[in-house]
């Protein structure tokens, strides 16, 4: 009997495997194009790299470009030559006694966060001490009772630029991502406090105690303010909020996570940054959207009309359509948030493509 049923079971398993792969995968031709686009982006970055290994003279952009290489399917590493080792040296050359890694006082959190994430991606243990110091610096930036902020304060648990004490969700997401990627203990108090601040940037009145909070489930830039008007939710921050929630310890069934995901379902598009003015922060959106969707683990997004979208396919198509002939990307609509810098935008785009390609 079993022998008779074996081909039937085998057929069922084959069908299941084909189905799972189809749901998982980017379309074959798109996958090939995505790989070629990422290669072209890295080729562009190779051409714009300074002799000291940096990009745009910025620690942050250098770290992002380095991460784009290290996480690429070609598995670049330090053995590949100076184009990998020099940016590492550039980053290490900007470490400070307080653990920060930055060429400027203005963006110490961003720079330190992306730097330790890039150093971790080298998989080289000799950078562990620098990474630990960076973690300590970021954790020290978090506002809590020690800084005079009670848990009821809207800024409690937040992390800002590092040159002041004003936290925002963008800085928070970079900090949370860096701490997660570099392996901070799940029981560290930093996560619980981070969740308090993240929740207070969400338009979800059930879980947000702020008076201004609406109820669409999306995220705004910081408690009570959006650069795109009042306290409205928008794509970049909602993806950043979703990713931050997941990395800080909330699970998929958490009402905050579900509310954020539902906002993405209701506002699903990759043709623009939904809710943002003039497509400001468009590539920031693509980058964090890819990471958030991968972390959430859903291969298809069913919008409120019931239409299913393979987000990987859509993201690849959109990035392909916006890539310039030289392999670079730049935001053609707005240079706000540094999106006029081709090195930064190209690094973000390649990282987003890596998120898609590496899944397959």
């Amino acid at each position: 009997m079993n022998r008779l049923l074996f081909p039937f079971y085998a057929f069922l398993l084959l069908c299941q495997a084909v189905y799972v792969q189809a749901a998982d995968a980017v379309d074959k031709d798109l996958l090939d194009k995505a790989k070629a686009a990422a290669d072209a982006g890295l080729h562009y970055l190779r051409g714009t790299q300074s002799t000291d290994g940096s990009w745009s003279g910025s620690v942050g952009i250098t770290a992002l470009a380095l991460r784009a290489y290290l996480e690429n399917r070609r598995s670049y590493d330090e053995g590949d030559g100076p184009f990998i080792t020099r940016p590492i040296e550039f980053i290490l050359g900007h470490t400070h006694k307080d653990g920060s890694i930055s060429e400027t006082n203005n963006n110490r959190n961003y720079n330190t966060a992306v730097s330790i994430a890039a150093l971790k991606a080298t998989k080289n243990a000799k950078y562990d001490e620098v990474i630990m110091n960076g973690q300590s610096f970021i954790k020290d930036l978090q506002l809590d009772e020690g800084d005079g902020y009670e848990p009821t304060h809207k800024y409690f648990g937040g992390i800002g630029y590092g040159g002041d004490e004003r936290p925002d969700l963008s800085n928070q997401y970079h900090a949370v991502e860096a701490l997660k990627l570099t392996g901070v203990d799940a029981n560290d108090p930093v996560w619980e406090k981070a969740l308090v601040f993240i929740s207070r940037a969400q338009n979800n009145s059930e879980t947000n105690d702020q008076q201004w909070a609406a109820n669409d489930g999306g995220f705004t830039y910081m408690p009570g303010y959006s650069p795109h008007g009042e306290t409205g939710s928008y794509g970049g921050m909602t993806s950043a909020g979703l990713l931050s929630l997941l990395f800080a310890g909330a699970d998929r069934n958490d009402p905050r996570v579900q509310a954020a995901y539902n906002w993405i379902r209701e506002n699903y598009t990759l043709e623009n940054n939904p809710g943002a003015k003039d497509n400001q922060g468009l590539f920031y959106y693509y980058n964090v959207f890819a990471k958030a969707m991968r972390a959430y683990g859903e291969n298809e997004i069913e919008d409120v009309k019931g239409q299913k979208h393979n987000w990987r396919n859509d993201l690849v198509r959109q990035l392909l359509s916006m890539q310039d002939k030289d392999g670079s990307w730049v935001n053609p609509y707005s240079s706000r948030w540094w999106e006029g810098d081709r090195n930064l935008v190209t690094a973000w785009s390649v990282i987003a493509l890596n998120q898609v390609i590496n899944k397959n």
């Binding site: 203005n106 005079g148 800024y155 040159g163 002041d164 303010y225 810098d341």
Partner: protein, 221 residues
């Protein structure tokens, strides 16, 4: 001695607004509020114009030094665990900005004959420079990203000088961040030393202009 109180009031309003809106950083708020209080009190003791005073510049210098010293002492007495070095720098900066304003006004006032005209010229200049990160915001958004342009614009504002003195990132405090796009642009605050030298150069230039016209007036008389 001549001074346009409207100009001082503009500086006071700028500092006061910054203090009130920078609620995220209590240290900066307290410092700025103290600075505003002392400038306000200092106005009461500002030297009057008098033919018997030999050098209006010297009077202005004395007044600026007293205001700065008073501010420094009050901060030491008022705040716990204060960073004396930072407060000293801020006091020095306040004195420098005031002195630059005094000499600018003095030079223009001596050059002109109508005090009202002096106020009309200086008041908008100071206001426009102080608020440069605000009103130039929409224009900077339309331009290709260039950190040198944005950094140069920031260097024009006296607020940049004062914030550098206390190592505060004023473009990222709530109110500025929400009303000026500079906080989201790529920029670098100018070097404090270079900015201080620029102020010193400005003071020397204006003082020289002032002295030149004073002597010419004396010669004519």
């Amino acid at each position: 001695m001549i001074f346009s109180r409207a100009v001082l009031l503009t500086i006071l309003v700028s500092l006061g607004a910054s203090a009130l809106w920078s609620t995220a950083d209590f240290r900066v708020t307290q410092m700025l509020l103290h600075a505003v209080l002392f400038l306000g009190a200092g106005l009461l003791f500002f030297p009057r114009r008098s033919a018997s005073r030999p050098s209006p510049l010297l009077e202005a210098l004395k007044w600026c030094a007293w205001v700065a010293a008073g501010f420094y002492l009050s901060m030491i007495l008022k705040l716990d665990n204060v960073n004396l070095y930072q407060i000293a720098l801020l006091a020095l900066g306040l004195g420098t900005v005031l002195l630059a304003s005094c000499t600018a006004i003095l030079a223009l006032d001596i050059y002109g004959t109508d005090r009202r005209q002096t106020g009309v010229v200086v008041l908008p200049i100071v206001a426009v420079l102080t608020a440069a990160p605000l009103w130039l915001g929409p224009f900077i958004l339309l331009m290709p990203e260039n950190q040198w342009i944005s950094s140069s614009i920031l260097a024009l504002s006296p607020l940049t000088f004062l914030s550098l003195l206390i190592d505060a990132d004023y473009l990222r405090i709530d109110w500025f961040y929400q009303n000026s796009p500079f906080g989201g642009m790529r920029f670098s605050y100018p070097s404090l030393v270079i900015l201080a030298l620029c102020y010193a150069f400005l003071i020397v230039l204006l003082a020289g202009t002032c002295q030149y016209y004073l002597r010419r007036n004396v010669y004519k008389q």
